[in-house]
Symmetry: C2
Subunit: 153 residues, 2 copies
DNA sequence: CGAATATGGTTCGTGCCACGTAGTACTGTC
DNA sequence: GACAGTACTACGTGGCACGAACCATATTCG
């Protein structure tokens, strides 16, 4: 079925799906690879990414990550234990907490992000500039229509 | 920075990475969505996929999934408990086991695969035929160069 | 003001995922 | 027939995510 990878003909319906799925796994693998040596989950990495620009409360963080509050508590516990993030009391709201990167956490975040860029970027090694540009535009168009409405009709 | 989703200009280096990462998460989300109602993890789904064409031993299955033997035992335990797969003694090798889909498991596998195709396919709703074809070709080219050699070079 | 309610977080228990380290049962080899 | 290797399982660890129950504080409203 999945025969000529380079041929211009015979692009069936399932091929798009196949390619997208395969790609997504490759990207995830690349992302995971980028965390080698840091022993971080993708969720942790995403959290660090969020915290690069913000100092949110746990709830806000949870929203950014698409997690429940309780999941976030655990996530924070583990990250805090590793010295990546710190919880500080919110001055305005005594129930709340603000989460921020520690210095170490920031270092890790930067390192991982850099490596991710390299790893994921490396995936496009086979493409030349114009193809890369083409790809970005296609993906942007694709992504622009996601999350809008239901898909199953 | 990540502004005009449709503009032809200003495709920077990080944009490819961004787009790929975002896409990969969307695809994973779509895959997960496809399992709604079945309460399956992606690993379980992958396993069902492998078992569609084969009746491997646990070890072989583990290799296909990139897991250790012990992880696979647990995976099988849970899947078996749900009536998705069955372990049968290997006639030639009394240590070994052959894993196969149950009727119910096959049904689930087919259903999920179909829904995956729909969900993932639905992601490309914004693209027309020619764009879809373009995308497939770009992705194939991209994928053809993956897993070959080191990437960080 | 004070009671009712909503919100931010945590705790606890559940289940899954993946691993490593034994162990058991068998296979193949010498 | 001993011995190394293989197939699988058992057990314990740790992470991820969830829901329900639960404080403590905020907010709303009578």
């Amino acid at each position: 079925m999945a025969s000529d990878p380079g041929s211009a003909e015979g692009v069936a319906d399932g091929d798009v799906v196949d390619a997208l799925v395969q790609l997504s796994f490759e990207v995830q693998a690349a992302l995971t690879r980028a965390t080698d040596g840091h022993d971080l989950s993708l969720t942790q990495v995403r959290m660090l990414g969020v915290l690069r620009d913000r100092t949110p409360g746990a709830r806000e963080l949870a929203d950014h990550l698409g997690l429940t509050a309780s999941s976030t508590t655990g996530l924070l516990d583990r990250a805090e234990r590793r010295g990546l993030v710190a919880r500080a009391p919110d001055l305005r709201d005594k129930r709340a907490v603000t989460v921020s990167l520690t210095t170490g956490g920031r270092e890790v975040a930067l390192d991982v992000e850099e490596r991710m860029a390299r790893e994921v970027g490396g995936l496009t090694a086979e493409l030349d500039e114009s193809q890369r540009r083409q790809l970005v535009q296609l993906l942007r168009k694709l992504l622009s229509g996601v999350g809008a409405s239901g898909s199953t009709g």
